[in-house]
C-alpha cells in the first residue's frame, strides 16, 4: 500500500461498462520527507496515478491506496482496475530518521 496526496480528479466521458458511475481521484505519491512533514515541498519523483475512490477523498487529503490485483477484491465481479483508495488518513505518525 502506497500513500499519496489527492491533487485532482478525473472525469471520463467514455469508459468500460463496468466502470460507469465511478469516481477517480488523481494522487501524487508522497516522498519520505512528506511523511515527516506533510506539507514539505520535497516531492517524490513517482508520477501521479489515477485511483478508484469510493470513500469520497477531496483535494489535499492523504490517502492510502492498494495497487495490483488486490485492488479488484472489494468488488463482486472482476473490475479492470489496479489502484483502489482504501484509506483516507487522519494522521501520520512518522518517527523514522
Amino acid at each position: 500500500m502506497r500513500f499519496g496526496k489527492v491533487v485532482g480528479n478525473v472525469v471520463l466521458n467514455h469508459a468500460l461498462s463496468e466502470l460507469e458511475g465511478s469516481r477517480w481521484i488523481l494522487v501524487k505519491p508522497m516522498s519520505k520527507a512528506q511523511f515527516a512533514d506533510t506539507n514539505s515541498d520535497e516531492q517524490s519523483n513517482d508520477p501521479s496515478l489515477v485511483v478508484y475512490d469510493r470513500l469520497g477523498a477531496k483535494n489535499g487529503d492523504v490517502v492510502g491506496f492498494t495497487e495490483g490485483g488486490e485492488a479488484m477484491l472489494p468488488f463482486e465481479e472482476r473490475i479492470p482496475i489496479d489502484a483502489y483508495n482504501a484509506i483516507i488518513v487522519e494522521r501520520v505518525n512518522y518517527f523514522g530518521d
Binding site: K32, G56, E70, L73, P74, I87, F95, G96
Partner: protein, 91 residues
C-alpha cells in the same frame, strides 16, 4: 518478500470496512546493507512489530486474507515476520 524497517504508523479517518481496526504501520524498504531506500510503504501488522523493528513484508493479498478470512480486503502488504539478523555475503 521484502525487508523493511518500521518508521511510523497511520491513523485512518475513513477506510474500507475490512480494514477497520487493522493495525497499519509505515515501513521503509531497506537495501542489502540495511540502509533505507527512501521508499515508504504501508503494511498491515498482526504480529505487533514495533518502531525500528526490521520486518519481513509480503506483497500478496492472500496473506491478508489468511489473517482476517475476509476475501474482500484491498490489502497487499502484511508483516509476515520480525527479522532478528540478516547476513549478506559481500561476494
Amino acid at each position: 518478500m521484502i525487508i523493511g524497517r518500521i518508521v511510523g504508523n497511520i491513523v485512518p479517518a475513513v477506510c474500507h470496512p475490512g480494514l477497520d481496526g487493522v493495525r497499519l504501520l509505515l515501513c521503509e524498504v531497506l537495501d542489502d546493507q540495511g540502509n533505507g531506500t527512501g521508499k515508504v510503504i504501508g503494511t498491515a501488522d498482526w504480529l505487533g512489530a514495533g518502531a525500528g523493528n526490521t520486518v519481513l513484508v509480503v506483497s500478496d493479498g492472500d496473506a491478508a486474507e489468511a489473517n482476517t478470512n475476509d476475501p474482500k480486503i484491498p490489502l497487499r502488504n502484511v508483516v509476515m515476520g520480525i527479522i532478528d539478523d540478516v547476513e549478506v555475503d559481500e561476494a
